[in-house]
């Protein structure tokens, strides 16, 4: 109670002395942790480079501008590949995330004790690993190329989409499901008439949202060999062809802006 007496007068403080001590302790611990981390980073840094950084940055900027606009003719195919990686990957992921979400939702899972934890595990493990790592893994297994990129994006997106979907499924109105059950409908009919219509807006929103993010992620997958514009980026960086690099960055920026615009438009229309 932040009201207490001190020398016969009632005073009010936002925190009691005890709470203040607790707060202080928390802040101190936080600060110490930060200081430790900073010192670790500092130790691993070659500070000479850091002081030299502004000069290097300026140097790179000079070399990178103006971008090499003619290079764009060579980027046609990579851009097409990047869009495909994102789109096909998202489509595959959605097809798989749909059943996984149903298995993971408390109200639709056939078995809370066994199947639900497995579905949740699938979701967590696919979400926790970045698509770049999945790409590395797939390239080691099935070789470089667009196919590896598509599968990498698909795997990563399953967890993301399934999580949002199962949260939507758990929030549906049960009375609609009850009503459809009362007509004598089979389990699948109850799903098609009672559950799916309720989660359609969420589904469409998640799909477009993830596609937008996947466009961004697909642009860099090429850096490890999984196809798309990242390959060009990687090779240009290796030879330090800065004007090409800046052009590629401009193209990536344009792609991101367009995909975000499409995503916002579609999500606005669905609601």
């Amino acid at each position: 109670m932040p009201v207490f007496s001190k020398d016969d007068t009632q005073i009010w403080r936002r925190r009691t002395p005890r709470e203040r001590l607790g707060d202080g302790f928390v802040w101190l611990t936080g600060f110490t942790i930060f200081a430790v981390c900073w010192s670790q980073i500092s130790q691993a840094t070659t500070w000479f480079f850091v002081w030299d950084a502004p000069r290097i940055a300026g140097d790179i900027w000079d070399r990178a501008t103006p971008p090499k606009w003619e290079y764009i003719t060579q980027l046609g195919r990579p851009i097409w590949d990047t869009i495909n990686i994102a789109t096909l990957g998202t489509l595959i992921a959605l097809a798989l995330a749909f059943p996984v979400a149903f298995l993971a939702a408390r109200n639709t899972t056939p078995s809370r004790a066994f199947i639900r934890p497995v579905a949740l595990l699938i979701i967590v493990s696919t979400r926790s690993i970045n698509s770049l790592i999945w790409a590395l893994l797939l390239i080691a297994v099935i070789g470089p190329g667009v196919f590896a990129g598509i599968i990498a994006i698909a795997i990563r997106s399953i967890g993301f989409c399934a999580k949002l979907l199962y949260e939507a499924i758990e929030e549906i109105e049960t009375s609609q499901v009850e009503a459809i059950t009362a007509t004598g409908a089979s389990r699948w009919q109850v799903m098609a008439y009672g559950i799916v219509p309720q989660i359609l807006p969420a589904f469409a929103g998640v799909a477009v949202f993830r596609w937008d993010i996947n466009i961004r992620e697909s642009t860099v997958l090429g850096m490890v060999g999984a196809g798309g514009i990242g390959l060009q980026l990687s090779s240009s960086l290796n030879v330090l062809a800065w004007p090409q690099v800046s052009l590629i960055l401009v193209v990536i920026l344009a792609a991101v802006i367009i995909s975000e615009w499409v995503s916002a438009k579609v999500r606005g229309a669905i609601i």
Partner: protein, 259 residues
């Protein structure tokens, strides 16, 4: 036609919602179920079509015990019982026609229902029902564009298109204004008379019940404490069912209306 024998429902928490209910509903009879909140009215209705699983007793629909049926036989039995809900329970994002036709889900296979290819006889019956309740012009509107009274009428169509023998109606007027409530009750009783349907109407508005139905059953703490004509519902009886209250006001309003 419907016989309920010693129906009981005890929840895992030890709550005894229904204690050995015995009730018989002959063909074509409409009865009202009244009682205070928590008396078990909703539970009883849901036990009849096993949306809630009874823990004891039998429910015989034309001689067949519903409690012991396996899942596909249960679905067939549910086709014969149409249910109408308090909050209408329409699938909001689907159109009125789809909601009405969803009453035929028990008769139509998955793919036909998924592709919305219902037999023409079902579609015709849907048109006829919508016309009967006065909502044919709204057939392709989304369910969430309708008012409360209109939604309840669609709920009634959905229940009737099943061609049921029995209607289970859970507080149909709880969310409606007084005038619409009367319209809905009138519609329900007229339709039951037209089709020779039996109905169990769970209702909390005693005056409304007395106005429209020929038989009233009162439930209190999971047991039937009254079963008779609406005119037999004296203030004493009502006290037994609901507890102490000034019933004179309620009864008087009914008499005034009936004049």
């Amino acid at each position: 036609m419907l016989q309920i024998l010693n129906l009981s429902k005890t929840y895992k928490t030890g709550d005894q919602a229904l204690k050995s209910i015995v009730l018989e509903v002959p063909k074509g009879q409409v009865l009202a179920l009244i009682g205070p909140s928590g008396a078990g009215k909703s539970t009883m209705i849901r036990c009849i079509n096993r949306l809630v699983e009874p823990t004891g007793g039998k429910v015989l629909l034309d001689g067949k015990d519903i409690v012991t049926l396996g899942s596909s036989a249960l679905r067939k039995a549910r086709r014969e019982m149409g249910m109408i809900f308090q909050e209408y329970a329409l699938v909001e994002r689907l159109t009125v026609m789809e909601n009405v036709l969803s009453g035929r889900l028990g008769y139509v296979g998955f793919w036909r229902s998924f592709l919305r290819r219902y037999p023409q006889s079902d579609v015709d019956e849907a048109f006829r029902l919508l016309d009967r309740v006065g909502l044919l012009h709204m057939a392709d509107k989304r369910a969430d564009e309708l008012s409360g009274g209109q939604r309840q009428r669609i709920g009634i169509c959905r229940a009737l298109i099943q061609n049921p023998k029995l209607l289970l109606i859970d507080e149909p007027t709880a969310s409606l204004d007084p005038k619409t409530s009367r319209q809905i009750m009138r519609l329900i009783t007229e339709l039951c008379a037209e089709r020779g349907l039996a109905a169990i109407i769970n209702i909390h508005d005693v005056a409304l019940a007395q106005l429209f139905v020929p038989r009233v059953v009162g439930l209190r703490f999971g047991e039937i404490v009254f079963d008779g004509l609406p005119t037999e519902l004296t203030p004493d009886k009502l006290n037994e069912i609901y507890g102490e209250e000034d019933w004179e006001a309620t009864i008087e309003t009914v008499e005034v209306r009936q004049r």
